[in-house]
């Protein structure tokens, strides 16, 4: 079993503090969902864990099986087992999806032990079929000209090809129609199991109809303010966030801060 432990994490962007002490522990074989209103720091948490260049960790720790993640370069974090499905993946012209994926897989293997082309293609074809992606997506340039839905599917394709220990999915459901959401969920559910842990960030309970989380956390004002099981998500869907604010005495003004 692997464990990702986030302790008292404070993160600033352009000098402004967005995360104000996040605590969270995720084990493999668990799926966690983080919910919360807009601008409460959910995506900041995802980006900070992966090492986005614009986010500055001012204090706190992130450890993966006892290793200090924050000391690692972005590629080292990925090699250690972290994966972030991004809300806005970059477009990279001239680099085909297939070449990129092969580089990503081979980056995890020793020189001289690269994945064979045949094996790679078999794996890629299988996963693309599973995610109902057009065959030509392999030879198209990475995310270039992809629709919103295609980009999200492509993030999940990468997830399935790379097979990380922990995946963070940053609003993987936003902008997806119901069919695409089903496909994306199918991909994530296929990853579920021993040796895989997942942190899903979402605004909408809808995603959780397809992927049942083991734990649900609510973030507000840069902190995890409430945790529970799947039933918490249902209550949020039915009643919104006001009852939590009331319960915890959170002022409305906090809503205005943007992450």
């Amino acid at each position: 079993m692997s464990t990702l432990v986030i302790k008292d994490l404070h993160v600033a962007i352009d000098g402004k503090e967005i995360l104000k002490g996040v605590n969270l522990t995720i084990n493999t074989n668990e799926i966690h969902a983080i919910m919360g209103p807009n601008g409460t720091g959910k995506s900041t948490l995802a980006s900070a864990i992966m090492g986005h260049p614009k986010y500055e960790v001012t204090s706190g720790t992130v450890e993966l099986d006892g290793e200090d993640v924050l000391e690692m370069e972005v590629d080292e974090r990925a090699q250690a087992g972290l994966f972030l499905a991004m809300q806005y993946p970059s477009e990279i012209a001239g680099v085909t999806n297939a070449d990129f994926l092969r580089s990503a897989i081979n980056a995890r293997r020793e020189e001289g032990d690269e994945i064979s082309l045949m094996k790679f293609i078999r794996e890629l074809d299988k996963n693309m079929e599973f995610l109902e992606m057009d065959e030509d997506m392999a030879q198209r340039y990475l995310n270039e000209g992809f629709s919103g839905g295609e980009k999200k599917r492509n993030e999940i394709l990468q997830l399935m090809m790379i097979k990380p220990t922990f995946a963070i999915l940053d609003e993987i459901d936003s902008g997806l129609d119901i069919d695409a959401l089903k496909v994306v969920s199918k991909g994530i559910n296929a990853m579920r199991g021993e040796g895989f842990g997942c942190l899903m960030i979402t605004h909408y309970q809808r995603l959780l109809n397809y992927i049942t989380p083991d734990h649900v956390h609510v973030m507000m004002q840069g902190r995890v303010v409430k945790s529970g099981g799947a039933e918490l998500a249902h209550r949020l869907e039915a009643e919104g966030y006001d009852w939590i604010k009331k319960e915890l005495g959170i002022e409305e003004e906090a809503e205005e801060q943007q992450a």
Binding site: M50, G51, H52, P53, E73, V74, D75, R77, A78, Q79, F83, L84, M86, P89, S90, I92, A93, G94, V95, D99, F100, S103, A104, A107, R108, Y141, L142, Q158, I162
Partner: protein
């Protein structure tokens, strides 16, 4: 050396050239003295040395077979499959083979000096008459006077040649100067693909490279012109590739300009005929102390003419480069479409790259557009790639190769594609 009139005459005579060509050379040499250098926009070349060189012509050994080729050249060629191949070694036609198909269809594919002798009338009709003029400036005149190599391609009406014609200009003598002239004439409804590679195996050259390519595409002809230039530092390179397109003709350029020499490159397509179409793709890598100027122009004269310019440059070390992209629509060229995109990627603080997009439009009923950018490798692209476990070095490599891919993928010969990829790899490292 300085070349005198008698040198030009005796070279021409030794080559057995027809008198019109000898006189053209002599007149050109005379004009060269009085003409100014060209004035590439934003690069001052008045102090560049375009006129002195160790010797006009060097004699090199021919290649008896392809086995004798140096590895740098062999890698470019599919030895078994490439049927139409010309290799010039410095100034010497060193190897040629042509298919029976070319002979049967009346296609001419031969070195320029042989063409002048054996296809005198055809060459006379097109040599510096349609696309480039002798007296444009000092360098065109010098070129005409001193032509000492190159290729002539002539494709008759309705003839379609599927396999690319491949040409390699090998430079393995530091004393050599290259006054190569390439003339590609495609008659009406014909189609041909021509791919040339300049490759230097010397550390540092001492001569001049004054290269002109003229492409004449008659009605509805289709020409794909691929070129990869990898000339050594030490040359002062002037390379002018120009096309003249008749009605409904199409020319696709794919130019990988990878010289290590200071280089003035000019690539102009004159869309004379209605419905003609030029697609120009250029990629460049500059490094060291190189000074570079790349002018790409599509000039629209014909109605419904279509011009697309794509230029991507990578600059490192203290290389300085200017990228002039010109879409020029003449009065009367209604419904013309002029588009261009120029992007420069800077890999060091000291490098300089200016993207200079220019639209000159003298007609109302047209469409035109341009995009230009100069910047560093996008940190968010690197972050994205690295978040998949790819190292920073490899991520940068992927982004740069991707940035230069538009030309690499257009080159129709695998060996040439591969070589360009390797040159890019070597130059950006």
């Amino acid at each position: 050396m300085t070349v005198e009139l008698q040198d030009v005459r005796s070279f021409s005579e030794a080559n057995g050239e027809p008198s019109w060509f000898t006189e053209l050379r002599a007149a050109a040499l005379d004009k060269a003295t009085g003409l100014d250098l060209p004035k590439p926009d934003r690069t001052n070349i008045t102090k560049w040395n375009f006129t002195t060189f160790p010797t006009h012509t060097v004699v090199s050994e021919e290649f008896a077979s392809l086995d004798a080729l140096p590895a740098e050249v062999k890698g470019l060629i599919d030895v078994d499959a490439q049927e139409n191949l010309y290799i010039q070694r410095n100034n010497t036609p060193a190897y040629i083979r042509t298919s029976q198909e070319l002979a049967d269809k009346g296609v001419i594919f031969t070195d320029m000096l042989t063409a002048v002798r054996e296809h005198s009338e055809l060459v006379q009709k097109y040599f510096m008459t349609e696309a480039v003029k002798v007296d444009e400036h000092k360098l065109t005149a010098l070129h005409a006077a001193l032509v000492n190599g190159g290729v002539f391609v002539y494709v008759p009406r309705n003839v379609v040649i599927e396999q690319p014609l491949q040409v390699v200009f090998l430079n393995d003598n530091a004393e050599a100067s290259l006054f190569n002239h390439v003339l590609v004439v495609a008659e009406a409804n014909s189609a041909v693909t021509y791919v040339e590679t300049y490759v230097s195996t010397v550390e540092e050259a001492k001569g001049q490279a004054n290269i002109i390519a003229e492409v004449v595409a008659q009605d509805n002809a289709q020409i794909t012109y691929g070129a990869v230039d990898v000339l050594a530092k030490g040359y002062t390179t002037y390379v002018n590739r120009r096309a003249r397109l008749a009605r409904d003709a199409k020319v696709d350029w794919a130019l990988g300009l990878m010289n290590d020499s200071d280089t003035i490159s000019e690539n102009i397509s004159h869309l004379v005929g209605d419905g003609s179409h030029a697609d120009t793709k250029t990629v460049v890598v500059g490094r060291g102390e190189q000074k570079l100027n790349f002018t790409t122009e599509v000039r629209h004269w014909g109605k419904n003419s279509n011009g697309h310019i794509l230029k991507h440059g990578v600059m490192k070390d203290a290389a300085q480069s200017i990228f002039n992209g010109i879409g020029f629509i003449e009065h009367g060229a209604t419904k013309a479409d002029a588009q261009q995109e120029s992007r420069v990627l800077m890999l060091s603080e000291k490098a300089r790259g200016d993207a200079n997009p220019i639209l000159l439009i003298d007609e109302d009923d047209v469409t035109a557009g341009h995009a230009a950018s100069v910047g560093r490798v996008d940190p968010l692209q690197l972050y994205y790639l690295m978040s998949r476990g790819i190292s920073k070095t490899e991520a940068e490599r992927l982004v740069i190769h991707g940035f230069l891919a538009p030309v690499v993928t257009q080159l129709p010969i695998e060996g040439v594609q591969k070589q360009l990829t390797e040159v890019i790899e070597r130059k950006v490292r």
